[in-house]
C-alpha cells in the first residue's frame, strides 16, 4: 500500500472537489479526495429515500456545467447525460396560467394572450439580456484579477476587463450598471406590464439569496438565466439522467480512471500547517495524511475558520470570512407519488409535466413570501420551483410512479426559535398545502415525503447555514470579492493550501468552474511535484 504520500489532497467529494481531483490526476498528480459522507456528491446526490424512488436530494438541476469539463473528462462515457427542461408554467391565483415553451412562436403567442405589448418587448428584452450575458460570460472562466494589486498579471487582466466593458458601448454599459444595482422587480418594470411574467422572472433572481424581488442587486441574477440560454445549444442546462448524483458519479468515475483515489467516510478534522506551509491533513480518527498541496472544496467558513487556526491567517481575512454571508434561505420537499397531479390551470397530464411549474403568481406573492422570512419565519405561502424528474427520466421511479421535487423559498436558517422536527413538518405542511391549492388532489397521491430545511442541508451536506451556493450569490460576494478581497484566486495565505469550492469565483450551481480553476491554479504554481520527474 502506497497510501502514505500524495501530491495533493482534496477535502470534500462534492462536484467541485471531484473535478479538481480529476484535473490534477489528469496532469499526472497523485491525488486523494476525502469525503465525510459514505457517498460522493455533496449537495449533488441522488438517494433512494423511499424504496424504488430516487430523489435528487438537494440540487436538482444542472446549471451551466461547463462544456469543456464535460469534454475534458469524457463525462458522457462515464454516464453523464443532461436532458432539457424546456417549459415553465406559472399557475395564477385566478385559475389562469402563464407558460413559457421551448418554441419561440408558441411562447410569444402565449405572452400575447396576457399582453400584446409584452409579447413585443419580450424579444427586445431577450436580445439585450443576450448581450449582457455575453458581456459577463468571459468573466466566468477567468481567474479574478485583484483590483488593488499592481502585479503585472492583475494589471493586464484588469486592463482587458476595462477594454471589454468599454467595448460594450454606452447603451449596453448603462444596462449592465442597472442590472448590477437595481432590484429585479424595478428592472423588469422597465420592460413589462404582466405581473405574473415579472414575478416568474424575478423569482429566478432570488434563488439562494436572502433577498426579495424588490431588494436592490437582485437584477443581476436574472442574467444567470440568460447565460444558460447563451449556452442553450451547448445544453449544459437541464436535468441529469439519474438525478444530480449521477453528475457526481460520472465525475468520480472519470477521476478514478485518471488515477485519483476517492475515500468516503474520511472526515477531515483540520489542515496540517508546519513551518509556514501546508503539510497535509488530520482526519477525525487522528490519522494523518501528508501532501504538499491541500485543496478545500468546502465553503469559505469551513475552509478558513474550521480547518485552520485563526492564528494561521491574517486578522483582516478572518474578519472578512466571519462577515461572509451564508444565510441559507431555501428548503426542499421531495415527494414519492403514485400518480402525477393535475394542475387546475392546465388540467390533465401532459407536456407541462416535462418542464417546471413555478409557484410565483405575482410579485406581491413572492415579496410577501420574503416578508415572512425577513422576520424569521418560513413563508406561509412560499415561492416554489417544481419539477417531476421521473417524467424526464423514467428511471427515477418505478414504472408509472413518479417523484416530485419542490424547491422552496423562503425557509430561513435563522428561524425564530430554531428548527426542530415539529417546525420542519409544519414547514412541509405549508408547502404541500400551498401546492394543493394549485393542484388539488396532490395530497392523496403522496406515498412518501422528505422535508429538508436549511438546518438539514447544513447537517447533511456540511454547507454552512444550509446555503446552497456555499455562500450567498450577492453582488458584494462575487468575483474578486469571493470569498474575500485579495483571496479570490483560489490561493490562501497558507502556501500550498488552495480553495476549489463554490465559495470561490464564479461559485454557485453545478457549474464546476471553481473546481477546475482551483486545480489549474495548483498546476500553474507547480503543484507540489509530479509522479514523473521533469
Amino acid at each position: 500500500m502506497a497510501s502514505g504520500h500524495y501530491d495533493a489532497i482534496v477535502i470534500g467529494g462534492g462536484h467541485n472537489g471531484l473535478i479538481a481531483a480529476a484535473y490534477l490526476a489528469r496532469a499526472g498528480k497523485r491525488v486523494v479526495v476525502l469525503e465525510r459522507r459514505p457517498r460522493v456528491g455533496g449537495a449533488a446526490v441522488t438517494e433512494e429515500i423511499f424504496p424504488g424512488f430516487k430523489f435528487s436530494m438537494f440540487s436538482y438541476v444542472v446549471s451551466l456545467l461547463r462544456p469543456e469539463i464535460i469534454r475534458d473528462l469524457s463525462l458522457p462515457r462515464h454516464g453523464l447525460h443532461i436532458l432539457p427542461l424546456e417549459s415553465t408554467v406559472t399557475p395564477m391565483e385566478n385559475g389562469d396560467y402563464l407558460a413559457g415553451w421551448g418554441d419561440h412562436d408558441e411562447t410569444r403567442r402565449e405572452l400575447y394572450r396576457h399582453s400584446p405589448r409584452d409579447a413585443d418587448a419580450y424579444d427586445e428584452y431577450g436580445r439585450l439580456m443576450h448581450f449582457m450575458a455575453q458581456a459577463v460570460k468571459p468573466i466566468l472562466s477567468m481567474v479574478p484579477p485583484d483590483p488593488t494589486s499592481f502585479a503585472l498579471g492583475d494589471l493586464r487582466a484588469l486592463l482587458g476587463l476595462g477594454r471589454h466593458f468599454r467595448g460594450l458601448g454606452s447603451e449596453r454599459l448603462h444596462a449592465l450598471v442597472k442590472l448590477m444595482t437595481m432590484s429585479s422587480a424595478d428592472f423588469l418594470d422597465e420592460w413589462f406590464e404582466t405581473d405574473v411574467l415579472k414575478a416568474t422572472k424575478a423569482a429566478s433572481g432570488i434563488i439562494g439569496t436572502f433577498l426579495g424581488p424588490r431588494s436592490p442587486g437582485t437584477a443581476y441574477v436574472l442574467l444567470h438565466h440568460y447565460m444558460g440560454e447563451l449556452d442553450g445549444v451547448f445544453r449544459a442546462w437541464g436535468f441529469a439522467k439519474g438525478g444530480t448524483g449521477a453528475v457526481s458519479e460520472a465525475i468520480a468515475s472519470a477521476a478514478r480512471e485518471l488515477g485519483a483515489e476517492i475515500r468516503c467516510e474520511a472526515s477531515v478534522a483540520r489542515v496540517l500547517v508546519r513551518g509556514g506551509r501546508v503539510r497535509g491533513v488530520v482526519l477525525d480518527t487522528g490519522d494523518e495524511l501528508a501532501a504538499p498541496v491541500v485543496l478545500s472544496s468546502l465553503d469559505p467558513r469551513r475552509t478558513f475558520l474550521e480547518l485552520l487556526e485563526p492564528a494561521q491567517l491574517p486578522a483582516d481575512l478572518v474578519a472578512d470570512i466571519r462577515r461572509f454571508k451564508f444565510r441559507g434561505s431555501s428548503g426542499k420537499v421531495n415527494l414519492a407519488l403514485d400518480a402525477l397531479p393535475s394542475f387546475t390551470c392546465m388540467p390533465g397530464i401532459g407536456r407541462q409535466h416535462r418542464g417546471a411549474f413555478s409557484i410565483s403568481p405575482s410579485l406581491d406573492y413572492v415579496e410577501r413570501a420574503y416578508d415572512d422570512a425577513k422576520y424569521g419565519e418560513f413563508s406561509r405561502r412560499p415561492y416554489m420551483d417544481i419539477v417531476f424528474p421521473s417524467v424526464i427520466d423514467p428511471g427515477m421511479a418505478p414504472p408509472g410512479k413518479h417523484v416530485m421535487s419542490i424547491f422552496v423559498q423562503y425557509a430561513p436558517y435563522h428561524l425564530n426559535g430554531g428548527w426542530n422536527d415539529a417546525r420542519r413538518e409544519a414547514f412541509g405542511d405549508a408547502v404541500i398545502d400551498t401546492v394543493e391549492t394549485f393542484a388539488p388532489g396532490l395530497k392523496q397521491r403522496i406515498l412518501h415525503r422528505q422535508v429538508l430545511t436549511p438546518a438539514d442541508i447544513e447537517r447533511i451536506t456540511g454547507l454552512s447555514e444550509g446555503n446552497i451556493f456555499a455562500g450567498e450569490l450577492a453582488l458584494h460576494q462575487l468575483f474578486f470579492l469571493r470569498p474575500a478581497p485579495g483571496w479570490a484566486k483560489f490561493t490562501t495565505p497558507v502556501p500550498g493550501y488552495y480553495q476549489c469550492g463554490s465559495g470561490t469565483h464564479p461559485g454557485g450551481g453545478i457549474m464546476g468552474a471553481s473546481g477546475r480553476l482551483g486545480a489549474l491554479a495548483v498546476l500553474k504554481n507547480g503543484g507540489g511535484g509530479g509522479r514523473e520527474a521533469g
Partner: protein, 398 residues
C-alpha cells in the same frame, strides 16, 4: 396521393405538431413530431424512441439455394451464419464498388429476409441464375418499427411477456405482442440498445397501440428522422446517397467507394465462395485502400474563436447537415478529403462529422482542418480524426 404513407400513418400523422415530413423511398415519414427534434433525440439515449422504419426495402429469399444466392451478392459469409442471426453487410459490383448496404436475417436454413435502402429485386434476380431460389419483394406487406434506447428491452419484455436478455446483439427471435406475431431483431441505426420489430402490415396499428400503451411508463417517445440522424452520426453509421454514392447511381468513377474505403473492411470476408467484387476487393485490401471513412471532432476553442472574431457566440448545427464539406491538412490549403455528415452531439457536447480522408491522413488523432462558414465567410476550424463510433455505450451489446 403521389407519395405513399406507411401502415403506421394513421397513428403518426396526428402526432405531427409541426407537419414536418420527410421523403424516404417514396413514402413520407416524420422528420420530427415535436416542433424541435430535441426531445426525440434525448429519448434515444435516455429512455426509448419509436421509429417507423417501414419504408425500408424488404425481400424474402427462400429455397434450397437462398443462402448461396446471398453469398454471391454480399461481402459477408452467409454460409457461416447461424439461424437467428442478423448480418449487416454491404454488396458490391464486379469492381468491388459498393452498391448498397443492409441486413440479412437468417430465419431458417432456407429462409432469409434482406433489407436494403435501395430497390434490389432486379439485382437479386440477375444473380440468381441457375439457383433454386424464390425472391419476393415483401416491402409493402411488412411493416417495421425500431425501438431504440436504454428502456427498449424493458418495454418489449413487458409487451411480449418474456425475458429478452438472452437475445444477443444482431440476433432475432419470433415473439407475440398482445397476440400479434412479430419478429424481434436486436438491431437498429442508433448505436444504442435497441430492437427492430417486423410485423404484417395488417397488424401495424394494434402493434403501435400496444407498444405505446406499454411504453408510456418507460418514457416511450415516437421519434423522427432528424433525431435519428444525430444518433446515427454519433454511432458512426453511414447513410447511402449521403455518405456514399451507390455505384449503381454514380456517373463518374470517383464518385464510387469500396467497403474498404467506407470503414466496412470488417464486413469483407477474407475466405468465402466467389462473390461480386471479390477479386477487386482482395487486390485493394492487399495494396491498401486509398481512402478511409473516419470521424472528425471539431476543436471547440478553434470554433469559438472563429465566431468570436466576428463578435458572435458559436453557432452549432443542432440539426445534422448532409452536405459535402472540404477537409484540409492542418495549416495548409491542401484538401485531403471531405466530410459528408455532421452536427452537434447534445450528449457529447461535441461538434462531430463523418468524413472521407486520404488514407495517410486518416489515423486517429491526426490534426486536420474542416471548412466552416462563419457569417458567409469560409473559414477553417481545427479538428482531429476520431475513432468511430463517437458514442458506444456498453448497453448496446450487453
Amino acid at each position: 396521393m403521389s407519395l405513399r404513407t406507411t401502415p403506421f400513418h394513421p397513428r403518426t400523422a396526428p402526432l405531427s405538431e409541426g407537419h414536418a415530413w420527410r421523403r424516404w423511398a417514396g413514402y413520407v415519414v416524420a422528420s420530427a413530431y415535436d416542433l424541435s427534434h430535441e426531445r426525440e433525440y434525448h429519448a434515444i439515449r435516455n429512455a426509448a424512441a419509436l421509429f417507423d422504419v417501414s419504408p425500408l426495402y424488404k425481400y424474402m429469399v427462400t429455397g434450397v439455394d437462398a443462402g448461396r444466392l446471398l453469398d454471391r451478392v454480399v461481402t459477408r459469409d452467409i454460409a457461416k451464419a447461424k439461424i437467428g442471426q442478423v448480418l449487416y453487410t454491404p454488396w458490391c459490383d464486379a469492381e468491388g464498388k459498393q452498391i448498397d448496404d443492409g441486413t440479412i436475417s437468417v430465419l431458417d436454413e432456407r429462409t432469409y429476409r434482406m433489407t436494403s435502402a435501395d430497390p434490389n429485386l432486379r439485382w437479386l434476380h440477375l444473380n440468381a441464375a441457375a439457383l433454386d431460389v424464390a425472391i419476393e419483394d415483401v416491402s409493402e406487406r411488412t411493416a417495421a418499427l425500431s425501438l431504440q434506447g436504454p428502456n427498449a428491452r424493458a418495454i418489449l419484455e413487458t409487451a411480449a411477456e418474456r425475458d429478452l436478455r438472452g437475445l444477443k446483439y444482431f440476433r432475432l427471435t419470433a415473439a407475440a405482442i398482445r397476440g400479434i406475431p412479430v419478429t424481434l431483431s436486436r438491431t437498429g441505426y442508433t448505436g444504442d440498445l435497441g430492437y427492430e420489430i417486423w410485423v404484417d402490415a395488417g397488424s401495424a396499428l394494434p402493434l403501435w397501440d400496444a407498444l405505446i400503451a406499454t411504453g408510456a411508463a418507460y418514457g416511450i417517445t415516437p421519434a423522427g428522422i432528424l433525431a435519428l440522424d444525430v444518433a446515427r452520426i454519433e454511432a458512426g453509421l453511414l447513410l447511402i446517397e449521403v455518405d456514399y454514392v451507390s455505384s449503381r447511381h454514380a456517373l463518374i468513377e470517383s464518385q464510387k467507394s469500396s467497403p474498404l474505403e467506407l470503414g466496412l473492411g470488417w464486413t469483407v470476408a477474407a475466405d468465402k465462395a466467389r462473390y461480386n467484387g471479390q477479386a477487386a476487393l482482395h487486390a485493394e485490401r492487399a495494396r491498401g485502400p486509398a481512402w478511409q471513412f473516419v470521424g472528425l471532432s471539431v476543436n471547440w476553442d478553434s470554433l469559438e474563436q472563429l465566431y468570436a472574431d466576428v463578435g458572435l457566440p458559436p453557432r452549432l448545427p443542432t440539426t445534422a447537415w448532409r452536405t459535402s464539406v472540404p477537409v484540409y491538412a492542418e495549416g495548409t490549403r491542401r484538401q485531403i478529403g471531405y466530410a459528408t455528415s455532421g452536427g452537434w452531439s447534445p450528449l457529447l457536447k461535441q461538434y462531430m462529422a463523418l468524413a472521407h480522408l486520404e488514407s495517410p491522413f486518416a489515423s486517429p488523432g491526426t490534426r486536420v482542418a474542416m471548412e466552416i462558414t462563419v457569417e458567409h465567410h469560409r473559414r477553417q476550424a481545427a479538428a482531429h480524426v476520431s475513432a468511430l463510433p463517437f458514442f458506444n455505450p456498453e448497453r448496446k451489446r450487453a
